[in-house]
Symmetry: C2
Subunit: 201 residues, 2 copies
DNA sequence: GTCTATATGAAGATAGAC
DNA sequence: GTCTATCTTCATATAGAC
């Protein structure tokens, strides 16, 4: 690791603080309702200063998403290092992690249908690269689990992947939590419906 | 059925056309990105005229949601009349219907986290009443299916209910459809993951 | 009830001094 | 790079004539 000059360390720390705030805003109210004014005031800087660090609101959201994907990769590393016995166990561990992040209020939620944001993300090579990297690692675990008979082959691996991704922004989690249930309980319930299904076996 | 005076029939037809447009907008871009200007122009009337029929943007969305719930109840009637052999079969039929509606671009999607809209809906007794009616009918089928051993008792009926509701706005449907898969195929895949789960049996 | 025209406010983005 | 002050756009909602 090359040591950065002090100035750049300060800049990096500030941008981290900004992305922190953005992440909270995205998790709490979503992209459309997030305002640059509120982000700025939460960080404690002027709105104009935000634009010295990030070109646009979309760029802010993209930064939050990229940091999340970075953390996801670190989590995948951690899970791999854990030496779990099966690919299914690894997939379960990832899903538990994403649900934990969401229940902790740290999952930036992108409205699935915002054209300006979607366009910005689809043009962001760093973002796309990270997304593909995560998808490919998970895809590998999925096909492995399928070939070992742990994950159903009734649907293609692609469908399994999207289903797992969807748990990261599943509104059921929030509803159950709002209903007064403990986060651990909520997670186990949704794990049960996701992997076990609703019908009896 | 009492016959309405002609004037009121016209008014009703116009409001139906408005709610049609709102429904399309909500399905396509969601509440936050829907604008009164666009709704008005789609209906072919002036924006100010909208406000003669509905008090606010929130009221428009609420009207669309109430009509959807009305249609859901009609669908529940239809399913009951079909004489399906088990409560599980009835639940499967409902979920297929909601997914079909979404894939047809007719499912108004409310951002789960919009305070002004949530507040308006929670203050709308007609909406709440319809929502409760639908929930209770489904809840009945669910407990019935659980007591007959068709639906898992590993999670409470409440969790089953929310899980079924969530399929109505599941982003996985859109992603798979955008990936070029036929709607019928998409629905059967998501049915399989929802009721069968991802893990092998 | 429908229209045109406008009030009002919010939010993304920028100018320009320091 | 940070600030204050401002520009610009756009969207909700309303005024007032017909």
């Amino acid at each position: 690791m090359a040591r950065l000059p002090f100035n750049q360390q300060v800049r990096q720390a500030r941008e981290d603080a900004i992305v922190d705030a953005v992440n909270r805003q995205l998790a709490g109210k979503g992209f459309d309702l997030m305002t640059m004014d509120e982000v700025a005031s939460e960080v404690g800087i002027a709105k104009a200063s935000l634009y010295k660090h990030f070109d646009s609101k979309e760029a802010l959201a993209a930064a939050a998403m990229k940091r999340l994907l970075g953390r996801a990769q670190a989590e995948l590393d951690r899970i791999e290092a854990q030496g779990l016995p099966t690919p299914l166990a690894r997939l379960e561990a990832v899903v538990r992690w994403t649900m934990r992040v969401q229940l902790d209020g740290e999952m930036p939620s992108l409205p699935s249908q915002n054209s300006s944001l979607r366009a910005a993300l689809m043009a962001d090579m760093a973002y796309l690269g990270q997304l593909m990297a995560v998808s490919e690692r998970l895809g590998h675990w999925i096909t492995e689990a399928q070939s070992q008979g742990q994950i159903t082959t009734a649907v293609p691996a692609e469908v399994v992947l999207y289903t797992l991704f969807a748990r990261a922004c599943d509104p059921v989690l929030g509803v159950l939590k709002a209903g007064g249930h403990a986060p651990d309980q909520v997670i186990e319930w949704v794990m049960a419906t996701t992997f076990g299904g609703l019908a009896t076996r």
